[in-house]
């Protein structure tokens, strides 16, 4: 790392197009104005994140849903605060700032030869999308690949076209569920929390030589962990990404520091074993 480089300086990014995902969530396709920045950024790993700047509103950390094996760079962001709301107002051609990628990311190469079990809830699928696409691109490197994904309602299923494609694909087992179905919803799949998918007859989850990726809201996380542990998973074979309030992304501002770890530089990917030792709520 060059010591005189300004770690807080965002690079100019240009919005290419914006697509709706689910209510309040949109995907923003963008590229850096400077092609050298784009080339450097594209070396990111699944599970890393970037700091997005909307000048006048601030900066926020956003996970990277694309896989480095894909051509386009994009963010999928829910409008929750003033800064994300400002991002949602941007139109194609608008300029904003991005810096990164930051964090450790998932060690996908260390998982070669293993079974991959992805368990996601709601927008927890955003960071895991990167790993899933990466794993499918390197399908021969992994043993079984399973996806268990749930959302509150059918209308809140993220990346639905991709989910449908994964359901149809050979070599990947994809199971979906929703917490509840409204009267207007068209849904003939499973109803129940994500953990209920593990108990459907005929579902077999490999425990030996398996890595389980878990991402979702805190309540879902707690229950899924319980389910996985009772299936026989070891704490060190369950991985997740932590979400924290962050201002800098480079281990200086102090907001994301839990236990002895700065989530931004030592995370955001941690094994459940480590998360438990850090001693704070998910």
């Amino acid at each position: 790392m060059n010591h005189d480089e300004n770690i807080y300086l965002p690079r100019t990014a240009i919005m290419d197009r914006v697509t709706d995902e689910i209510p309040e969530v949109k995907t923003f396709y963008w590229h850096f104005e400077d092609s050298a920045d784009q080339a450097a950024f594209r070396k990111f790993r699944p599970g890393q994140f970037a700091q997005v700047s909307i000048f006048g509103f601030g900066e926020f950390p956003a996970s990277l849903p694309p896989s480095p094996t894909e051509d386009e760079t994009f963010f999928t962001v829910r409008s929750v605060g003033s800064c994300t709301a400002a991002l949602h107002q941007l139109k194609p051609g608008d300029k904003f700032g991005v810096r990164g990628p930051y964090g450790n990311g998932f060690p996908m190469e260390e998982y070669y030869g293993k079974n991959l079990v992805f368990v996601a809830g709601g927008i927890g699928l955003i960071p895991l999308r990167s790993c899933i696409v990466y794993a499918l691109r390197h399908r021969d490197k992994y043993d079984r690949v399973q996806i268990f994904y749930g959302s509150r309602s059918p209308r809140e299923l993220m990346y639905l076209p991709s989910l449908r494609e994964w359901e149809r694909s050979a070599g990947i087992e994809c199971r979906l569920t929703v917490d509840r179905k409204g009267p207007a919803d068209v849904w003939d799949g499973n109803i129940g929390v994500v953990g209920s998918l593990f108990k459907i007859p005929g579902t077999s989850i490999p425990v030996e030589n398996t890595v389980a990726f878990v991402c979702g809201p805190p309540i879902m996380f707690r229950f899924v962990i319980k389910d996985l542990l009772s299936l026989g998973f070891k704490e060190q074979n369950i991985v997740s990404t932590l979400e924290r309030y962050m201002k800098c992304g480079v281990g200086k501002c102090g907001h994301c520091c839990i236990g002895v770890a700065y989530v931004c530089t030592e995370g955001p990917v941690f094994t459940y074993e480590r998360i438990r030792k850090l001693g704070e709520d998910i």
Binding site: M1, D4, Y8, G58, F60, P218, R244, Y245, G251, C253
Partner: protein, 360 residues
């Protein structure tokens, strides 16, 4: 390290020498009552610089890590956007910085420039900063009941991390150079060589001064590091600390070794935004609250625990090569709930003595 002697009457000439070298010189002054503060020396106030006075509560840390600091400006206009970082390249010298605060700046060096990423803004300010450390030798003025630098091993006389150190020997001052830049000042005729007698006098004075410090925290400071690092402090102890915390964040704002900041954008004119960083405090409820309202650290004792854990955990001390507490005693002086560092160390001592008693 080279040392020289200068007359008492010539001490403020060190300030003049630095001003001649184009430094903005910062020095301590006395306000009303107990109030003391660091300020820029001008022709007008130069004569009012104080050598011995209570260490100002607002630490000189702000000259390397300002309370509010602009990081960049962004100009936007009709789809055009220009991001321009802004740096402070000012040459500054702090005259009369105490040993504890010198150690504080050394700690900031390790944190901002020594971890995975180097903070450019801090580095630029630090490179242009000259430190003239003043040894605390006047028990009536320099040392108060909250000082515990002896426990943190940072004072009363800093061993390093200064450019020049001055110590009051009575009619004369001893000057010690800590860097080649500090030593370069010795070319001036106010400095002369000293002898064995001066060294003896320095040793005698320091021995005498040490007896004026409260050092009850001393043995327990390292024990507290051990207990915290092992995770053997009872939740109950943190709860007691939490109950007494008023969540004002005062301890952080007076701390010479706290590093946390938040970042905020502000519009300065149509089409122009500046991004600033502002000191932040882990005692405040919003410190970890995310957009949408989720806050992983809810209880106040969680946040209090956080401050002491961050400062005393061995992992951080090893990583930054120094402890994030330098024993200045400011947190103890400003805390309305009496949960500054020395009190917390004392509470840990009492709680552990109780455990030991029950276990035996």
């Amino acid at each position: 390290m080279k040392a020289r002697i200068l007359d008492r009457a010539d001490v403020l000439k060190v300030v003049d020498l630095l001003r001649q070298k184009d430094y903005e010189v910062i020095a301590p002054f006395r306000g009303r009552g107990r109030d003391t503060f660091f300020d820029t020396v001008t022709d007008e106030n130069r004569g009012r610089i104080e050598i011995h006075l209570p260490n100002p509560y607002y630490p000189p840390k702000r000259y390397v890590f300002p309370h509010i600091e602009r990081l960049l400006k962004a100009h936007s206009n009709n789809g055009y956007i220009q991001i321009e970082p802004t740096y402070d390249m000012h040459r500054r010298a702090i005259f009369g910085i105490r040993s504890c605060d010198t150690a504080g700046i050394f700690h900031l060096d390790g944190f901002y420039m020594g971890r995975e990423f180097c903070d450019t803004y801090y580095k630029r300010r630090r490179k242009n900063l000259f430190l003239v450390n003043m040894v605390c030798t006047d028990p009536g003025e320099d040392i108060n009941s909250e000082c515990f630098c002896m426990c943190a091993d940072t004072g009363p006389a800093a061993r390093d991390h200064f450019d020049l150190q001055l110590m009051d020997l009575g009619d004369e001052f001893m000057a010690v150079a800590g860097t080649p830049e500090g030593e370069a000042l010795f070319d001036d005729s106010i400095f002369r060589k000293g002898g064995e007698g001066h060294i003896k006098k320095r040793t005698e004075i320091l021995e005498g001064v040490r007896s004026h410090f409260k050092n009850s925290t001393r043995n327990w400071f390292s024990a507290a590091v051990r207990y915290i690092s092992r995770g053997s402090i009872l939740e109950k102890t943190w709860e007691t600390v939490g109950e007494r915390c008023l969540e004002c964040g005062g301890c952080t704002y007076v701390c010479p070794a706290c590093t946390c900041f938040t970042v905020s954008d502000r519009r300065v004119s149509p089409g122009e935004v500046e991004r600033v960083r502002v000191w932040d405090a882990c005692a405040l409820a919003g410190f970890t609250r995310m957009a949408g309202g989720h806050n992983p650290r809810r209880a106040v004792h969680d946040r209090r625990n956080r401050r002491f854990f961050r400062k005393l955990e061995h992992h951080f001390i090893r990583k930054e090569l120094s402890m994030a507490c330098v024993g200045c005693g400011r947190c103890a002086a400003v805390c309305h709930g009496d949960v500054g560092m020395p009190s917390v160390v004392e509470m840990i001592r009492r709680a552990t003595t109780e455990i030991d008693k029950n276990e035996s």
